[in-house]
């Protein structure tokens, strides 16, 4: 008998404005054996998180299980009384949610939150629960369990918090552990450490895992079997290696093809607009940036300098070419974009644009200069004014930079939309009425409405689904070739950078650790940190050893 048997499960959400329902999970069936690891993959909104919760007989407000059954160890859990379900949750089936910061109660210390679970299910007294919690913390590789026990959630790092949540979920050695995107809120290097931990614990305890994620390469690394979901239905299932290497359905093929892969055998993208003369369009020399420390009386007597967010970074970007800037969060890559575009002033260093020094901030730059340097932001929705129609969003830059208004501006807006393969019908819409991919394409169109010479792309694909990412990148590349603009492409995703950039700079904690031709950097990394990032991106088995080695050489500092 399977540990978990899901039959034709249906979950619906009530529409707040009308009486009808939207199906979030629409007739899903599958089984999980003891000790098995099953991946459930799908893009945002496919119903995978709703499914995960329904497996524990739980729905978010507005949701309702409308059909099917879930047999856990032979028992239909929808037929159980509230107390019986409660006795199962946390003891025999447990969940690790996405964001550990918001998932821990902020006004309670983390230790007692794990104690609570132990005391409910295992009839331990306060002291026994505490000792057990400390053991669990040690078992999840938390340094100094005693200290962590007495900390509040916000006082720990992201990786530590997720370890605490995992310790709580595994406290009663459950038969089934459901992980809902447990590493999405974490850095790549931390992510790999958490994944390794989960694997170890699974092997040690023999727990069955259901691993929910949007990342196909992750399921390939973590899971034996995988389900691919689309619009609440399972569209493809099988062994994860075979789904990954030879998907059967069109959607599966598209999904796999769209994954930006570091190990893909693609040539370094041609740089078609390469100018003959040698003078670079953008030259950054010894750039440093430090966040200004807050003024306070105590700071006067005891000045503590903030560490440098950007530390002596230099690079050049020739006309028409694309330069990749890679690094994890906190590496200073977005700060560099903000400085170039003029949102913050550098602490020291020089930036030369087209042979002339750039003013420190936008207030010291001419309108013409502002026009020539454009930026595209990470979150497409927040970068478009929700109260302006697309028409207004696309014509405003033309009015400001070229004084073009009326029909001419409108025609140009339509032309830009066509470049982005968007229909002119969108002109009358508001940003919220567009999909994420469409919003980002409008944001690109707006940037190119200024006919810039340099375009900064700050993590422009990281808020998008994989299948949309590839399309957006292709369109960006198309319009870049058409206009001859140079591009500074900033991303944490090595696979994406490999697709677009001719040269790449790798940043770590504000410093450029490696730079050169993209192919050289990726195929033959010279710096340990680059190797580490590549190993993480490739989900290499030797990754953990690299981390260990790296922490010895202090490349990956211990988490705060």
């Amino acid at each position: 008998m399977a540990l978990l048997d899901v039959r034709n499960l249906q979950v619906a959400y009530r529409n707040p404005s009308s009486d009808d329902q939207t199906m979030a999970v629409d007739g899903v069936s599958f089984a999980v054996e003891r000790g098995e690891t099953l991946g459930i993959v799908g893009e945002s909104g496919c119903g995978k998180s709703t499914l995960a919760r329904a497996l524990m007989a739980y729905c978010r407000p507005g949701g309702e299980i409308v059909g099917g059954e879930v047999l856990f160890d032979g028992t239909d859990i929808f037929g159980l009384k509230d107390e019986q379900i409660r006795a199962l949750r946390g003891s025999r089936m447990a969940m690790v949610p996405q964001d550990p910061l918001t998932s821990l109660t902020y006004h309670m210390k983390v230790g007692p939150q794990v104690d609570e679970i132990l005391r409910i299910h295992q009839e331990l007294d306060a002291k026994g629960a505490r000792l057990h919690t400390l053991k669990l913390f040690a078992g999840t590789n938390l340094p100094e369990p005693e200290k962590i026990y007495h900390r509040y959630p916000h006082e720990n790092s992201g990786g530590q918090r997720q370890r605490v949540v995992i310790a709580g979920a595994l406290a009663c050695e459950p038969d089934l552990l459901i992980l809902d995107e447990p590493t999405t809120a974490l850095d790549t290097t931390t992510e790999m450490q958490v994944l390794k931990l989960v694997k170890e614990l699974r092997d040690r305890m023999g727990t069955a895992l259901i691993y929910i994620t949007h990342d196909l390469t992750l399921t390939d690394y973590m899971c034996e079997n995988v389900l691919v979901m689309l619009n609440g239905k399972v569209v493809e299932r099988g062994q994860s290696s075979s789904v990954f290497s030879a998907p059967q359905t069109d959607y599966g093929k598209a999904l796999v093809a769209a994954i930006p892969r570091v190990d893909a055998k693609i040539a370094t993208p041609a740089q078609p607009n390469k100018a003959k003369d040698g003078a670079p369009l953008l030259k950054v020399e010894h750039l440093s940036f430090r966040y200004p420390s807050r003024w306070s009386v105590s700071a006067l007597f005891n000045p503590v300098e903030e560490p440098l967010a950007v530390d002596d970074v230099s690079f050049e970007l020739p006309r028409g070419e694309t330069l990749g800037l890679v690094g994890e969060s906190g590496s200073g890559k977005s700060t560099i974009a903000n400085i170039i575009v003029g949102l913050s002033a550098p602490t020291s260093g020089a930036i030369t644009f087209d042979g002339a020094a750039l003013g420190a901030t936008d207030r010291h730059r001419s309108p013409e200069l502002k026009r020539r340097i454009q930026i595209i932001f990470q979150d497409p929705l927040s970068s478009l004014n929700p109260r302006r129609r697309i028409e207004s969003i696309l014509t405003r830059p033309q009015e400001i930079f070229f004084g073009v208004t009326g029909k001419a501006a409108r025609d140009r807006a339509v032309e830009l939309l066509e470049d982005m393969e968007l229909s002119a019908d969108l002109l009358k819409r508001f940003p919220r009425q567009l999909s994420g991919g469409q919003q980002q394409r409008v944001a690109i169109a707006r940037a190119f409405a200024a006919s810039p010479d340099l375009i900064l792309c700050d993590e422009i694909t990281s808020a998008l689904d994989v299948s949309v990412q590839a399309h957006v990148l292709r369109l960006l590349r198309g319009i870049q070739i058409k206009t001859g603009a140079a591009c500074l492409f900033i991303s944490h995703d090595l696979g994406v950078v490999k697709q677009v950039a001719g040269e790449t700079v790798v940043l770590r904690k504000g410093r450029a650790v490696e730079a050169g031709h993209t192919s050289g950097v990726f195929d033959n990394p010279s710096h340990d940190y680059t190797r580490l990032l590549l190993a993480a991106a490739l989900r290499q088995e030797n990754y953990a050893d690299l981390v260990e080695q790296a922490s010895r050489t202090e490349i990956v500092g211990n988490e705060p």
Binding site: S17, L343, D362, D379, L384, R396, Q433, A450
Partner: protein, 285 residues
């Protein structure tokens, strides 16, 4: 007509309470607008014997203690306080929006100064604040309107600034700055449209609260002065006849209560339908 992608009618019929609220407000507004054309006697005219009981053929609801037609006074009794409340609050909300959005946009010392002024006013509770002005500047409809405006200005700034602060860090504001929009243009063109729902709800909630305050002031003798017909004033004038003619108190009480209940039902329902939490803005008057 669409508001926030929702048909206006569906917002009005969002819940039974909303429908009741909108109906009550409509009836009250119609009455307030057309009362001068409909009333049988002038609202301050000495029309008959004092204290005629309701049901008299010439005086449907009787007369008050000095012989004025009570029906005419009831129908006219909301006009002054509604006008004072609406103009005062509208001024407060419009000027408040500008200060709130600009404070959120500029931050720094300007924001500090604006917020300290706001804190100062919020520290002087409602009626005490009005009493200061009434004793200083005397009692008139103009002073009352200005005082109502000043009373609601800080609350409006606080609520709207909180909403504006959620918008200021968003990328569309950076994008506007980077294409060279002036500060004024960022405030008016980019930010203000994105706080407008809060502004509208603020106006609705504060207007009903202002009507309460104005009538309470009139009741206390600090607001609208005799012989003007005003519900708050009429309740306090009726207190001396509480044993022989309680309807002189009860009828104006019903009028003022239905108006405010209607306004609050309507604004609460509309805020809910638009997905805004009205209760947040209700932190005291």
């Amino acid at each position: 007509m669409l508001v926030n992608d929702k048909p206006l009618l569906s917002i009005v019929t969002h819940s039974p309470a909303t429908t009741i609220g909108v109906t009550l407000v409509t009836l009250h507004l119609l009455n307030a607008i057309f009362a001068p054309l409909l009333i049988p006697y002038g609202s301050t005219q000495l029309a008959g014997m004092p204290l005629i009981a309701p049901g008299h053929p010439d005086f449907l609801l009787g007369t008050d203690v000095i012989g004025r037609d009570f029906l005419s006074r009831l129908m006219m009794g909301g006009r002054t306080s509604i006008t004072v409340a609406m103009i005062g609050v509208m001024g407060a909300v419009i000027i408040g929006t500008f200060f709130a959005v600009s404070a959120a946009h500029f931050g720094g010392y300007y924001d500090d100064v604006v917020m300290r002024i706001v804190d100062t006013k919020l520290s002087i509770p409602g009626i005490l604040f009005v009493a200061l002005f009434v004793v200083g500047f005397g009692r008139s409809v103009t002073v009352l309107t200005i005082v109502v405006g000043l009373s609601y200005f800080p609350g409006a700034v606080r609520t709207i600034r909180a909403q504006a602060l959620t918008q200021v860090p968003l990328a569309y504001v950076k994008a506007a700055r980077l294409r060279g929009e002036s500060a004024l243009s960022v405030i008016i063109r980019e930010l203000t449209p994105n706080v407008i729902e809060v502004v509208v709800v603020e106006f609705a909630i504060r207007t009903s609260s202002a009507i309460l305050i104005v009538s309470a002031l009139s009741f206390l003798g600090l607001g609208i002065s005799p012989p003007t017909a005003d519900w708050g004033l009429m309740v306090s004038e009726g207190v001396n006849q509480i044993y022989e003619a309680p309807w002189l108190i009860l009828l104006p009480a019903v009028f003022i209560s239905t108006l405010v209940v209607g306004l609050n039902f309507a604004s609460d329902g509309i805020a809910n339908a638009l997905g805004l939490d009205a209760a947040r803005g209700l932190g005291g008057h």
